[in-house]
């Protein structure tokens, strides 16, 4: 059997093992059975997975990202097994590096499961406008928020990872921002990978509901200890009329980790989504964003920075669908690539035939710091309306020789000059991160991981 076929069979078998009644593994023992609708959705998803499998090179959307390294690891072996124990001090250490300001609520997940001991969400957070639960807790609650939302807008058959996520995810975050409430503090969702000595797999599924007129900031942090693990995460976001949501995703996974993420958002009339993605970690990562602007004056701003070194491969895949007229999208992704890293950016913008008076701006600029770094950039505009303002620009360049000389003429050595120019390039995106503390922490981390080596 080929690796691919073997892996596929492995996941399907793991699913059967998992749902077989009376299997009695310690992972499922004692847990409440999932509601029928969810169990049905999971089964549909594993059937879809069996059909679509993992994305291959013939899939245009995955043309530049080969998933063989992920598929080759027998991550499925861990599914349905008891989750290994871990030392709490190691989780605390990882969470500590994030320097989340005291008083800001945080939900912490360890190897795919909610870990209350490290989280700081309680009744007082409801006062700040948030209702926050783990998915597992929400699904067993009588007033489940996720029940009417989960998987409704997200097509599990889009690709194998998404299907697996739907089939296996049993935890994640469920967040509701109540109508008219303005959350005064950001909510942090922290996903921690703790090494367990064997390949680990975390499926996370989150749901965010922003009710009419609400406003909030949600920050997702992905961190992990050195080790081979896969984070397969999906988040579904619904913004009701006039809601404002700022979503930040900091992907700082271990250097040996794999990361596949999907954000799917629907933005109603007058509502606004701002997404900030910063990617610095992981051996191989894929970050997908699908936004549908479904009401007049809905808008989204997508900012992204990937700062890659070593042999990292990061693929950012964004789709903005202007479903109705008078909607706006602004997208600015930047890449800094060093070593023999590889970056992929795809930005698809769809303007449907009746979507007049749409404004769509997209930009993707890349800075290559080494001979070995490669970037593929693909703006894809599909515009069927005629009264629109759309623009896009893609650029791949190296550090400007004249600028380097200018800095050296003022006394900066080559390393410092290169670092400063690289920094100048990246800061445009980092400067727009919300909150002084977050901006500082992430900025320092980007400097340390990606840019300290830029001058070498």
């Amino acid at each position: 059997m080929s690796t691919l076929a073997e892996a596929k069979a492995g996941y399907v078998a793991a699913f059967e093992r998992r749902v077989r009644p009376g299997a009695g593994s310690s992972a499922t023992a004692g847990a409440k059975p999932a509601p029928k609708w969810l169990e049905d959705a999971r089964r549909e998803a594993i059937v879809a997975f069996d059909k679509v499998g993992f994305p291959g090179p013939k899939n245009e959307d995955w043309k530049y990202t080969g998933v063989t390294p992920i598929v080759s690891e027998p991550f499925y072996a861990a599914l349905g097994e008891a989750r290994p124990a871990y030392a709490s001090s190691r989780v605390a250490a990882l969470v500590g590096t994030l320097a989340i300001p005291a008083g800001e609520p945080a939900l912490v997940f360890v190897n795919g499961s909610y870990a209350a001991a490290f989280s700081s969400v309680d009744a007082t957070d409801v006062a700040s406008g948030f209702t926050v639960r783990s998915l597992a807790a929400d699904l067993s609650a009588t007033d489940s928020i996720a029940a009417s939302r989960l998987g409704r807008k997200l097509d599990a058959s889009a690709h194998g990872f998404l299907a697996l996520n739907t089939a296996f995810a049993d935890d994640g975050a469920v967040v509701r921002i109540s109508e008219g409430r303005v959350a005064d503090k950001p909510l942090h969702l922290v996903y921690v990978g703790v090494a367990t000595g064997k390949p680990a797999l975390a499926h996370l599924r989150s749901v965010i509901v922003a009710e009419p007129g609400s406003a909030a900031t949600i920050v997702e942090h992905y961190v992990g200890e050195p080790g081979v693990y896969l984070t397969n995460t999906a988040i579904e976001i619904a913004l009701a009329r006039s809601a404002t949501l700022r979503h930040v995703k900091i992907q700082d996974e271990a250097e040996t980790a794999y990361h596949v993420a999907r954000l799917e958002a629907e933005v109603a009339e007058q509502a606004s989504l701002a997404s900030h993605v910063v990617t610095i970690g992981g051996a191989l990562s894929r970050s997908e964003i699908y936004v549908r602007l479904v009401g007049r004056n809905a808008e989204c701003r997508l900012d992204g920075l990937y700062a890659l070194s070593g042999e990292r491969h990061a693929d950012h895949h964004t789709v903005v669908d202007h479903v109705v007229a008078e909607t706006k999208s602004f997208e600015n992704y930047k890449g800094v690539l060093d070593g023999s890293s590889r970056g992929v950016f795809t930005g698809r913008v769809m303007v449907r035939r009746d979507s007049q008076k749409v404004e769509a701006r997209q930009q993707n600029k890349n800075l290559l710091l080494s001979e070995g770094a490669v970037v593929e950039t693909r703006p894809q505009l599909e515009i069927y309306a005629d009264d629109v303002q759309c623009s896009h620009g893609a650029a791949i360049g190296r550090l400007d020789e004249s600028a380097l000389f200018y800095l050296r003429q003022r006394g900066l050595d080559m390393d410092a000059a290169r670092g400063l120019l690289t920094w100048a390039f990246a800061s445009e995106i980092l400067d727009r991160l919300p909150g002084e503390a977050l901006r500082q922490t992430v900025t320092e981390r980007v400097r340390f991981v990606a840019l300290e080596r830029a001058g070498k």
Binding site: D400, E401, S402, A403, F405, Y406, L407, R408, Q409, R410, G411, L412, D413, M414, A416, A417, L420, L421, W423, A424, F425, A426, S427, E428
Partner: protein
């Protein structure tokens, strides 16, 4: 007794992409003096500035340059800068994303470290920067704006002079500093330069037009033609150039 030399350029030949630009240029700049280097387009003025500061797309094929007795051409650009060589660029670079203050603090501290001085902290740096900015009538807000981004031609040149005041170099090369300046800006820039004139400092004022030399009066004037000095004289030579043009001077020298 011969004067102490700040800069001694001897039989300098340089080319770019196989094309000979400097063709046996020799020049002596004593400590404490200001010399003007004039010449028409293509005579090698900017190449001289580039070779003195170490731009790497020029190749020196023959000759030598000594700065305070050291072999200048053997030094990396940043070492020349730290040793006190400053170039006011004809076309200052714009760097979006880095403030003038941030960049200049790094530069000032690189130079101070080289000189064995203590590095400036943010507060001391700003205090000095505010004083110096006043000298070139530069608004303080410029310090926090991205380096030269969206600056007018005059603002960029004033920023060059401001940086020069901050770095306190020993050998100053002004490359076409007057280009793109109106009379008021020219006077401001010249005042900044003149504020730095001192017994221990030398300047090379490279210019196409005589106009700047009304404000920065040189001790000597050299006229460059075809990559070497065609004529040298006192400040009055600049006026002669203005009156008769480069052609007649180059012909007389030939």
């Amino acid at each position: 007794m011969a004067k102490d030399l700040m800069l001694e350029v001897c039989d300098l030949h340089a080319e770019v992409a196989g094309k000979q630009i400097l063709n046996g240029l020799s020049l002596e700049l004593p400590v404490g003096e200001v010399h003007a280097v004039m010449g028409p387009n293509g005579s090698g003025k900017s190449t001289l500035a580039a070779v003195l500061t170490g731009r790497d797309h020029f190749t020196v094929t023959k000759g030598s340059v000594r700065y305070q007795g050291q072999d200048l051409l053997a030094m990396e650009p940043e070492l020349r800068a730290r040793a006190g060589v400053f170039l006011s660029f004809q076309y200052p670079i714009e760097i979006p994303g880095i403030s003038t203050a941030y960049f200049l603090k790094a530069a000032v501290n690189a130079v101070r470290k080289h000189r064995g001085q203590e590095e400036l902290d943010a507060i001391d740096f700003l205090k000095i920067a505010r004083e110096k900015a006043k000298l070139v009538a530069m608004d303080e807000s410029f310090l926090n704006r991205s380096l030269n981004e969206g600056f007018s031609g005059g603002e960029k040149k004033r920023n060059e002079i401001f940086q020069m005041l901050m770095l306190e170099p020993t050998l100053i090369v002004l490359d076409e500093t007057d280009s793109g300046l109106d009379v008021d800006a020219l006077r401001t820039v010249a005042d900044g330069v003149n504020a730095l004139r001192s017994a221990g400092r030398s300047m090379l004022v490279i210019t196409h037009y005589q106009r700047l030399l009304n404000y920065i009066v040189p001790d000597r004037t050299h006229v460059l033609a075809a990559g070497k000095i065609a004529r040298s004289g006192g400040p009055e030579l600049a006026l002669e150039v203005e009156e008769k043009g480069y052609k007649s001077i180059a012909e007389r020298a030939a």
